[in-house]
């Protein structure tokens, strides 16, 4: 019996020893949790019960120079679903129930799930945006059936004159996966977008994104496990975006939209004194309101496959051979390099033979212009005069002068993207084509052909530099915003050369000029230069405007200003495949300028 008891007690002690080790292990675990990792778990416990709710900032409004609203925020109602702890099946069944009382399209459903997978930090995701009044009241009456569905007030961006300003204002769109990736490297930026759903994608909306957007705020609240509100801990107000007043005039926008309606092309009109843009129009155009809540696939496909490229901003993002519109600038080059002067004249037989070669360059006028000086050369757009000028000037001097008018450089206009065009030069050719410069290319450059490319914005910017005879600030879309880079008042060339060229441009609209059709009713004293840019060089056949495919037709250009005795506004117009500058682009420019003086002055 004693032996029995001895075994029992020993066995009992063994079990007690094992369990003591277990207790020791538990104590170590508790020490680890409560002492060593205390800070970590305190933090976790805090974040457990704290929720941060974003407060959106209100996007700044965009006005034209006369306080007409171009981009505004209108109050709408969205239907949102709280996705926390919800599986895809749960969400599908909620959406299924909702679709019994609301119309929910396939597109809306797709957008919802796309947003759910892309925007990991969102708890509530909108399903149906901008619910109409009828559905709104209907949903409100059934709301108790959907505990996870909420009605959210939201300000929706709206462009009341959508198509008329599409390329200028651009649009906002939902923040994409790409945008989020960009933010992730910049915590400050990410904070500013906290709770925001949209970002400026194009035009002014994009380039002034930072000031228009403002900064979102947040509300830190304490909740319990059922997400019920317990207390507010912190409240940081949102900083609303700044309003923007453009230099643009809505009336001019409307007029230009109407004038370009039947053409592919663009128009830019500026205030000569300060380089502010008054009208900025590209056609065909699109409705920016389509983008605000995620454009549907059909609409997007339509815009992108349309051969007339409605999304292309033809003012700054399309470059064309400037054609004869380059001649006034080239004249300055000739004058300041003493290759020509006011009295210099040549005889134009209708063609030009490149010295020491057999290469013949035709004038646009087969029978020739006869005896021409600088004024008549500009007025009649005599090609041979400028071939001769260019040949004797040489490409280097030509480039040096043209560069002063910012050809081949960006105008600095406050838009997200801008093409710089090409001012051809031997260095440029060597770099891009690995070939040496040929003398005939100098001749081509002299009439704005060959590799020469510039945007309408560049043309008007160059014209403003010429008219002011000094460097100009970047083209500006903002009213009274002066460049912070001080500009020298230094004249870029002798004033008398400018006067000569201006006289030539004035003659363009006289009864002898290329734009003589205007001569009789040029009451607003328009001066300018027409241009016809070859899209396609026809080798053997002669150019026959009536028997050529539309897309191969010449581009029609015009640059001009008014009044010629006291220049106030300048304009550049291009009509793709429009034919002669004098027949399409120039009349549009005249109508714009006339409209400007009728309505504005």
């Amino acid at each position: 019996m004693l032996n029995n008891r001895f075994i029992l007690v020993r066995r009992f002690n063994i079990l007690l020893a094992i369990l003591s080790l277990f207790l020791l292990l538990i104590t170590i675990r508790l020490f680890w949790l409560q002492i060593y990792k205390n800070d970590f778990y305190l933090e976790r416990s805090k974040s457990n019960s704290e929720r941060i709710e974003p407060i959106k900032s209100l996007r700044g409004l965009i006005f034209d120079r006369n306080d007409n609203i171009l981009a505004e925020n209108i109050l709408t109602y969205n239907i949102e679903i709280d996705i926390e702890n919800k599986s895809t099946e749960d969400l599908n069944s909620i959406i299924g129930e909702l679709s019994k009382i609301l119309s929910i399209s396939e597109h809306e459903r797709d957008q919802f799930f796309k947003m759910r997978s892309e925007r990991k930090f969102l708890r509530k995701i909108p399903l149906k945006l901008n619910v109409n009044n009828e559905e709104l009241t209907f949903f409100a009456s059934k709301k108790f059936l959907f505990p996870n569905v909420t009605l959210k007030e939201e300000f929706l961006r709206s462009y009341p004159h959508g198509k008329e300003n599409a390329h200028l204002i651009g649009y906002i769109n939902r923040i994409s996966k790409k945008d989020v990736e960009k933010f992730e490297n910049d915590p400050e930026l990410l904070n500013n977008y906290f709770g925001m759903s949209h970002i400026g994608k194009q035009g002014i909306e994009n380039s002034f994104e930072n000031s228009l957007r403002g900064k979102s705020g947040f509300k830190k609240i304490r909740v319990n496990a059922k997400n019920s509100f317990i207390a507010e801990i912190e409240n940081k107000k949102a900083l609303d975006g700044e309003d923007l007043i453009l230099s643009i005039d809505l009336n001019l926008q409307r007029k230009s939209h109407e004038l370009l309606k039947n053409f592919k092309g663009s128009l830019i009109m500026t205030d000569i004194s300060n380089n502010e843009v008054l009208a900025y129009q590209s056609n065909p155009t699109f409705d920016p309101n389509l983008f605000v809540n995620g454009i549907s696939f059909t609409d997007w496909d339509k815009l992108n496959t349309d051969p007339s490229k409605p999304m292309l901003d033809r003012v700054t993002n399309a470059v064309y051979p400037p054609g004869s519109t380059i001649k006034p600038f080239l004249s300055i080059a000739g004058l300041e390099n003493n290759v020509i002067n006011e009295d210099y004249s040549i005889n134009d037989p209708g063609f030009y033979q490149l010295p020491k070669t057999k290469k013949i360059f035709m004038d646009w006028k087969k029978e020739g212009h006869g005896n021409v000086n600088i004024i008549t050369a500009i007025a009649e757009s005599c090609d041979v005069y400028f071939y001769d000028l260019a040949y004797r000037l040489g490409i280097e001097k030509m480039d040096n002068s043209l560069r002063k008018f910012s050809f081949g450089q960006k105008t600095g206009i406050n838009l997200p993207i801008e093409k710089r065009g090409i001012l051809p030069s031997p260095e440029w050719k060597l770099k891009h084509h690995k070939k040496k410069w040929n003398a005939y290319e100098t001749i081509n450059t002299s009439i704005g052909q060959g590799d020469f490319l510039s945007s309408p914005a560049q043309l008007v910017h160059g014209l403003n530099i010429l008219l002011n005879n000094k460097q100009m600030p970047p083209l500006s879309l903002i009213k009274d915003k002066f460049s912070d880079v001080p500009l020298s008042d230094e004249k870029i060339t002798d004033e008398k050369y400018i006067e000569i060229v201006k006289r030539g441009m004035q003659e363009v609209t006289s009864s002898n000029g290329t734009f003589r059709s205007i001569a009789k009713n040029n009451y607003n004293k328009i001066a300018g230069k027409t241009g016809t840019a070859q899209v396609f060089s026809l080798k053997s056949q002669a150019y026959d405007e009536d028997n050529i495919a539309d897309h191969l037709k010449d581009h029609s250009l015009f640059i001009g200003y008014a009044p010629y005795d006291n220049p106030q506004v300048s304009i550049a117009v291009i009509i793709e495949n429009g034919g002669h500058g004098s027949t399409v682009a120039a009349p549009i420019a005249k109508k714009m300028i006339d409209f400007y003086f009728e309505t504005i002055k």
Binding site: M1, N4, R5, I7, L8, V9, R11, F12, L15, L16, L19, F22, L23, L25, I26, T27, R29, L30, F31, L33, Q34, I35, K37, N38, F40, Y41, L42, R44, S45, K46, N48, S49, N85, R222, V223, N224, A225, K226, I230
Partner: protein
């Protein structure tokens, strides 16, 4: 009346009783903090403790000869109760473990904690002339019957505790080292089989969650994470009032039952836990001394088995709440809210107390 109390107290070990009262007050305090001092849980627990103490007194004066004599009937009745539960039990969270008696629900598997050891211990004298191996096989068989029934409820945790109580008796009764090794080997061989054929997906999930609770934070891992947060945020002295507590904000559910240790840890910190352990240590120490000094082998065996079950459940619950053990539904003995568990433990201690008082009376 005074005589009745004197009579009852004279049969009770004073130190054991005082320690028991301290522990029960601790329980009331924690349930009050977890569920609210004005909640029905608190009031019901107050009633359970009061009833439990009366049961304790009554059982303390029980003559245990009677208990041993009818141990077979008691065992069979317990098994029938288990089967009855399996058929007529109240289903909660997908398992049938409870018999609903209105005011409280009886978890029938708890009864086996009490009755299985009584039956096995009573058999020892009966099998005095049989071989050791025979006794051990019969014990094993008897223990496995309730284990399988409870496994089907399903309640793996309680089932294992019942099975363990049988194994503890076999071990304490002098199982040879060779058989222990064979047993361990057999267990290791059966482990993969159990994993693939016996364990249900949610049970496997709980074991996997133990390894990495954050892998599945919203389903199985939720309790483990939230209770770790509650314990960890308690620090040395308990969480100061400037922080909101896990259970106040309902992040950790069921704190008054299985997870009550998290409330203790959160509110009183590491130091509170150590004090809590010390009180339990003293209580268990007292039980161990009483058990060792009982006069008959079968009495010692029964008392020691009860003490082991008590310690095991205590440690398993704390290991579970602190994330060292899978989440099995084992309440913290004497502390967690609930009538059946409390009554069973109080009856156990009453029996030990009775054996202790009667040791001089029972001629061995």
């Amino acid at each position: 009346m005074t005589n009745l109390f004197t009579f009852l107290f004279s049969r009770t070990d004073k130190q054991l009783f005082i320690l028991l009262l301290i522990i029960l007050l601790f329980s009331l305090n924690l349930i009050g903090q977890a569920a609210g001092f004005d909640s029905t849980f608190f009031l019901k627990q107050l009633l359970f403790i009061f009833t439990g103490l009366i049961i304790f007194m009554l059982v303390s004066i029980l003559n245990l000869r009677f208990l041993f004599r009818y141990s077979l009937i008691i065992y069979v009745l317990s098994i029938l109760l288990l089967l009855f539960t399996a058929v007529f039990g109240t289903e909660i969270n997908g398992s049938k473990r409870w018999l609903d008696f209105g005011i409280f629900k009886l978890q029938s598997s708890e009864i086996l904690k009490l009755t299985l050891p009584i039956f096995l211990v009573s058999l020892i004298d009966y099998f005095k002339n049989r071989s050791q191996a025979f006794t051990e096989l019969v014990f094993l068989f008897i223990s496995f019957i309730p284990f399988f029934i409870i496994l089907k409820q399903p309640d793996l945790g309680s089932g294992l505790i019942i099975l363990f109580s049988g194994l503890i008796i076999i071990f304490l009764n002098g199982l040879s080292l060779k058989k222990i090794l064979i047993g361990i080997l057999g267990f290791l061989i059966l482990l993969p089989y159990a994993w693939f054929n016996i364990l249900k997906d949610y049970q496997k999930g709980r074991i996997l969650n133990l390894i990495d609770p954050f892998s599945n934070p919203l389903d199985g891992g939720y309790h483990a994470i939230q209770s770790s947060i509650a314990i960890g945020s308690g620090g040395l002295f308990g969480k100061s009032s400037e922080f909101s507590s896990q259970h106040d904000l309902l992040f950790l559910p069921e704190t008054h039952t299985d997870f009550i240790f998290a409330v203790l840890s959160e509110n009183y910190g590491f130091l509170g836990n150590i004090i809590f352990f010390l009180i339990f240590f003293l209580f268990i120490y007292k039980l161990v001394i009483i058990s060792i000094n009982l006069h008959s082998h079968s009495h010692r065996l029964l008392a020691m088995t009860y003490v082991m079950i008590f310690i095991l459940c205590f440690l398993i619950n704390i290991a579970m709440v602190s994330g060292l053990f899978p989440i099995v539904g084992i309440p913290l003995p004497l502390i967690s809210y609930g009538g059946s568990s409390l009554f069973i433990y109080l009856i156990m201690f009453a029996l030990i107390n009775s054996l202790n008082y009667n040791k001089t009376l029972i001629a061995d």
